[in-house]
Symmetry: C2
Subunit: 481 residues, 2 copies
Amino acid sequence: MDTAVRAAHAARGALADRTVRSAFLRSAAELLEGAKDHLVEAADAETALGPVRLTGELARTCYQLRAFADIVDEGAFLDVVINHPDDTATPPIPDLRRYKVPLGVVAVYSASNFPFAFSVAGGDTASALAAGCPVVVKAHPDHPGLSELVAATLRRAAEQHDIPKGVVGLVHGFEAGVELVKHPLVSAAGFTGSVRGGRALFDAAAARPVPIPFHGELGSLNPVVITEAAAAERAEAIGTGLAGSMTLGVGQFCVKPGLVLAPTGAAGDRLLKSLTDAVSNTDAGVLLDHRMRDNFVAGVAERAELPDVDAPVTPGAGSEHTVSPGFLTVPAGRLAAEGEHDLLLEECFGPITVVARYEDDSEAGAVLSRLPGNLTATVHLSAEEAAGEGRGAELLAELTPLAGRVLVNGWPTGVAVAPAQHHGGPYPATTSTSTSVGGTAIERWLRPVAYQNAPEALLPAELRDENPLGLPRRFNGRLER
Amino acid sequence: MDTAVRAAHAARGALADRTVRSAFLRSAAELLEGAKDHLVEAADAETALGPVRLTGELARTCYQLRAFADIVDEGAFLDVVINHPDDTATPPIPDLRRYKVPLGVVAVYSASNFPFAFSVAGGDTASALAAGCPVVVKAHPDHPGLSELVAATLRRAAEQHDIPKGVVGLVHGFEAGVELVKHPLVSAAGFTGSVRGGRALFDAAAARPVPIPFHGELGSLNPVVITEAAAAERAEAIGTGLAGSMTLGVGQFCVKPGLVLAPTGAAGDRLLKSLTDAVSNTDAGVLLDHRMRDNFVAGVAERAELPDVDAPVTPGAGSEHTVSPGFLTVPAGRLAAEGEHDLLLEECFGPITVVARYEDDSEAGAVLSRLPGNLTATVHLSAEEAAGEGRGAELLAELTPLAGRVLVNGWPTGVAVAPAQHHGGPYPATTSTSTSVGGTAIERWLRPVAYQNAPEALLPAELRDENPLGLPRRFNGRLER
């Protein structure tokens, strides 16, 4: 681990040139695509996620690398601000020029459930390299072989641009992961995983003699609210859609809808009937590892035996390696105040969701007000509500404090790589206010520096008046594209 | 404390409208100016900083409140990014619209040394209110009366705009401060003060069940490097300038130059002669409180008795309430490796600096490489070096990793309120990558939220296609002013 961190640290100068960084990221995408068949086969052997999903995930990963290459080339992320001297200010303003510089070596903790997109060549690595930061990746033990293959591919891409291969380090094992976040030459960390593991590393990052930023994506319940009018309008479509979202990838998504507020009454009953039919017809699937399978089976059992909890379709163990999807129901009133049912407000990884039936808006609101932070919050509205009649806007405002992404009439599974994406949310969804997906993920690995009265001849090209690199910037107050 | 936090939390809705926020900030500036004589008198009675300095500081504080009002009106800080659906992306991009929302109640810990600009109505409060966050300020015990007066003034300004007066809370006492950062309704904290106090609060913020961002400005040595050529060119001007900067405000600035790398030899000797003359002719002054005076006297004594440390002008106790300025010298080689002289690499608050005499560039570089993080780093260059000949650019690059602001041929005391300002730096200068002065200080109190497929009728006005509020934004990839 120490060797990997030192090699990464020594490689940081080779990333200083933005044109080299973007070319490196594009080469990485190209080489990963070139090795697609081999990589997908290796990934499937270790994760059982299947070639269709894995091929798509690799394509997403390469798209993401190229998206960050475009961001590097554009340079808006440097946040250039230039102030010429201004004696009318109080106190007077000297010549000040600010932009952002890379933090240094970034520790990346891979996730199990996205062996490409949230692993060695995933969003944390892509955004860190784009920012000019070498990475040392802690490989996830569920796909160590694939991790080695992907790291080797990234290093080949680096060598094409004369970047030392140490720019992407890879370490294995629990101890190495724990020590990595404490290494004095590590300047920041990105993490995707469980609340328990992420919190332990967050605590270690904060307890260092020199604390470092720890951007962890931990756990999320991803609540879904279905209005009475929406259920009345399209109970069947919503029930079927929910079944698809909660069982997608055998429920192994951080944005799986884990709590659904559905109305009591006839429309809600129809919705549950559709959900029951669709989930009953969904095949059992293989979870990523046996520990997850054990946790799922135990977590389901513990939840199912709570008072007033029913299981229209019982989730649980399937064959030796599989689990079968299902869902629980509970009166929303049981969740409106602290008690043993709070267990239902904790994420249960795998193909299960909890449908809380509410009597009225205030009961639904009482449950929402008790939720911890989430990556997403979703509301299903009727056509009239979506058009602005009724409580649509109010519900959107009610969901906003709960999550980093708020969806209307959709499902949270599926996280687009886009400039406007925000994949993060109040704790425990994320340990910071940052995103791990989308263009602004690059901000995590930078810090600002201002130069005062530095002569033009000594200024970095990014900060010169004539703007030789054509960067978007704020120049004497005015935004320039 | 609990009452203050709850009142602040209850007031947050009143800050939702940006036009109300900017008007509130402008009224606050106006009322503070209106009460100038009274406030300056009260401040001087508690701090002994003198009416000239305090009048200037109040003007700065009002300028800062208005600068944030302008930032609120412009709205670029909302970081609006809009993506229309794009099926050509991998995976396809839905309609996504992102902006930033206020975090919630902000705890502000005031500094002793700026009773206006880094206290109740200072930069943390101004930027938090600008972001839409109510504040609860922990008053500094060195100016409790002034804190009450300023808080009352801010509340009068709030009431002019129908904002509940709880929007600015004020608490006194060590225990209240410790409990404040742990309060479940506090969402973030800003701090200016000592490493010990700041680190304790940072640790408490990180250890909460729900950790919160803690933006603390702690300690800084603010190194100054004087090249051989600069000393040869203008030893006297540099020596006099340094004396002015290190004794300004009786050395009670977080950006006081605390370590100066000056060359050995004749030019360096001339520089020291000027410094000696100027410091000897500087009057003793009153420190903010007796604890600081005791720490200063003890800190000086401990440093002065280290081997090879000389005191051309001995800093120390003056009369009962004052201290007299001075400086120490040490061969730079003593600081190039770990040892007892490391004490000289720690901030000593008050009118003292340490001049380390270096033999050559590599010795100076060795000292720089051992420094902890700083708010500022300064280099004095000759005219030729400033024009690009010699090591100027190299030195700038060497200083950049050490600090958040890098100055050429100037002095770090004096922190302009400007869009390009960065007043922060690697730990322990700051506990995060943020700034506490300048336009981007507002970023500390916001988090992004993305809306997915939200119908136009329900979207906040900030995120609508037609841009009714005229906000700068990124629209389908393109930056719009």
